[in-house]
Subunit: 259 residues, 2 copies
């Protein structure tokens, strides 16, 4: 009979998530299929397990309905909630970045040089994940598409100063904090057998991991290890996330409803 | 009996050279060996053939002696002049750029990115013939040496705007003017047989060609056709200079003295 509680203190000690953002994570991770709905009581148990207040969850659900992200229906006295088509598209698009294993991501890097500092191609470069280094110089992963008229150069081994200039120090520091929490979590669950946890606790653990990772990984474009160095905390976080999500396999919704 | 005069009007129509600079060309082209001396009367005939005034030549010789570039000795009533060891070193160093055929020059190009706009490596890059494009970005030929700590990228096909940004328009315009004069000269001498000209006139023609070419080619670093385009007038000038100097082979000093 599963009865252990997951050791989540390292993850719950991280900055308290914004409630609406945490709900985006929960639905994006657990209820991404068109027919998936999470019942009110299940959502309450998940959010309470993360220390979120019921009133804050109600407000956040209201906001997400207004944003056409979540739709709620009532069946008798029980509400159930699911992603709208819009929310599902956004979730699927983000999931390609959030859940990618390092080996699925582009390798190598490139430098792009613009004709002028107000060149037309700037938005396209940024949309392709290029990071601005100088008014006319961007860097990005080696498979990013470069618009016409931009001079492009494949990167070799970069000097150390380059990664420090393209990754803001505060972003690196946030990844370091997350890395510590992920490693502590990994160490504490090392001896747990999958069956020892209730599906709801597995879901809770996954959502906390994905949430804190998602916040960071969607904020800054992906820069490959060739550019940042393989020991950059962002890459090490991705390895830990991949490892932990494989241990805490996503439960089916019916396993966590009404438990 | 050689009797033709070389058709030099296209070359003498170019901006009048500075006299001291013209003397540097004459000695650098005709009298580069340690034992080479040009006798006063020969120098007079060469400079008069270029339209230079005897008084201006005397002043320029005085200046070049003060600069430890030329040494003069008197034997009876005749002075003779030659490069000093210093003048010879400088001439030899410049000659590697002036007389190089296109196929002897580096191919390909590279971009160098500095850590900061006041990086220590800036003078080294400039000494290696890199041209500054932005405060932290230089371009140069593909074989130029790049100092430690500089990020370097091999160039591929560059966009058109790049060559316009690295070669000042006035430099290109000057090459265009020279190219016209060189091509007119080539056309006029097309039917001349080498033996039809006196050695002194061959020397005169060479020196005018080398002089106007030298002024330009030493002023701006060498940028390969991969970067500027093969049709850039600087490269076309080099081809014409190579062709003309092969037609007007350097005479031995003894052939032009006292003729």
């Amino acid at each position: 009979m599963p009865s252990e509680r997951p050791p989540l203190d390292a993850l719950t000690a991280l900055p308290t998530p914004r409630v609406w953002s945490m709900l985006v994570t929960i639905f994006g991770d657990l209820a991404r299929n068109p027919e998936d709905r999470i019942e009110g009581p299940t959502l309450t148990r998940l959010t309470e397990g993360m220390g979120l207040k019921p009133e804050a969850v109600r407000v956040a659900l209201h906001r997400l309905r207004n944003d056409d992200w979540i739709a709620s229906v009532k069946s008798g006295r029980t509400a159930s909630h699911g992603l709208t088509p819009h929310g599902r598209r956004e979730s699927l698009s983000a999931s390609r970045i959030i859940y990618a294993r390092q080996e699925e991501l582009p390798v190598g890097w490139q430098l792009a040089l613009l004709e002028s500092s107000d060149a037309d191609q700037k938005p396209s470069l940024q949309a392709e994940g290029f990071v601005q280094l100088l008014p006319r110089v961007f860097v990005g992963n080696g498979q990013a598409r470069v618009p016409q008229g931009v001079a492009v150069f494949m990167g070799d081994t970069p000097p150390n100063w380059l990664s420090a200039q393209i990754v803001p120090a505060d972003v690196t520091a946030e990844y370091e904090t997350l890395l510590t929490a992920l490693r502590q979590t990994s160490a504490r669950v090392a001896d747990l057998q999958p069956g020892q946890l209730r599906p709801l606790d597995v879901a809770l653990t996954r959502c906390l991991i994905v949430h804190h990772w998602r916040r960071l990984v969607l904020r800054h474009p992906y820069l490959p290890p060739a550019l940042t160095g393989a020991a950059w905390p962002g890459h090490l976080c991705r390895a830990e996330v991949t490892h932990l999500l494989a241990r805490f396999q996503r439960p089916a919704l019916h396993e966590i409803q009404g438990t």
